[in-house]
Symmetry: C2
Subunit: 208 residues, 2 copies
């Protein structure tokens, strides 16, 4: 490895720090970039810098945005009293892509995860309570929260924690708290589905 130019070694170790990219892939990417036009690489580098520089956080829902208020929150057609709570902006994007949700979002910024030193105070949970209280003050009817954190242990715990926080905030009878539907993913062969999912799917069976 000492035979490699410094610039190449440095690029490899910078690329290697990205999630899901090991030393072999990083090396292959670096050598790939060496064989591309200068313009390709400078465009890539610029877009990464711009990604950080030009991306803001929506003041209402904390999703990534290019304005102070994101395009979903800014959309008059969206139901402001229907809030889907997600871990990250990328989850919001996925739900948007499905095109079936006409409410707004609330991006927590992660999940409660003691192993990664992420407690409730590191997430936008207080901000969610404030939003809900303000909806109540505005006399909105049918206020609903859809908890769409992951179906992981941490995601489940975070959903339960948020539910208890809403209830403690005397919002209990004013806010409907739902969890996103659980079951067998579309396109699955049942023989590959794990037991926990199967039992959840059985619980949430519905009339055809």
């Amino acid at each position: 490895m000492s035979r490699l130019p410094d610039s190449v070694t440095k690029a490899i170790s910078a690329i290697e720090k990205l999630p899901g990219i090991g030393p072999k892939s990083a090396t292959r990417l670096a050598f790939y970039l060496l064989n591309t036009p200068n313009e390709f690489v400078s465009n890539l580098a610029k877009s990464l810098i711009d990604l950080k520089k030009n991306t803001l956080i929506c003041k209402d829902c904390f999703s990534v945005s290019d304005k102070d208020i994101c395009s979903v929150c800014d959309d008059a057609k969206r139901k402001k009293e229907l809030i889907c709570v997600v871990e990250r902006s990328i989850d919001m994007m996925n739900i948007e892509r499905a095109g079936i949700f006409d409410g707004v979002y609330h991006v927590l910024g992660g999940v409660i995860n003691p192993l990664e030193h992420c407690g409730p105070d590191d997430l936008k949970i207080d901000e969610l309570i404030v939003r809900l209280k303000s909806l109540v003050q505005q006399d909105k009817k049918e206020i609903e929260v859809v908890l769409a954190t992951g179906l992981t242990m941490e995601g489940e715990a975070t959903a339960l924690y948020i539910k208890s926080r809403i209830n403690k905030s005397e919002l209990e009878d004013k806010v409907l708290i739902n969890r996103i539907g659980m079951g067998i993913p579309i396109g699955s062969d049942l023989s590959y589905v794990d037991e926990a999912t199967l039992s959840r799917a059985m619980e949430s069976k519905r009339k055809l």
Copy 2:
């Protein structure tokens, strides 16, 4: 997707252009970068720019280098009359890592591949002949070429083409032409090895 800030969309499409990275991975990487410190991203971007700016091509062997002559060609202990011909600098690096080769290299810059419009003139084959002729003129004994292009159809064709070029250049009886050893890779379970490899391995059996 229209809901995403422009800066994020641009970063995703720039990352997506890298080999082996699909739209899903690109999106995940972009959102990962959004959550990292500015310094991390600027360091990554800078290392990519530097990769192109500070990397030179060795004038002797055409490998990537930080000087005009790479550290292998510049090493007095390396046998200059033993040349390992590889497709790319990354292959040279892999052989170097194994630490078993005490000659020098010749980086072709690819393989003959008509489908990708890469002919013999696009590779450093003329340059290899020039190098060999100059070794002959210097009265070097035991000049040897190890053809270490890939064991793919294109790699094999390129190796055969180089052999014919060397022979045509009246270097035939002055240069020993070897192909890198073929056989079963270390750590392989024989039941997973394809037949072509097995038959090559049988041909190149050796006494224990």
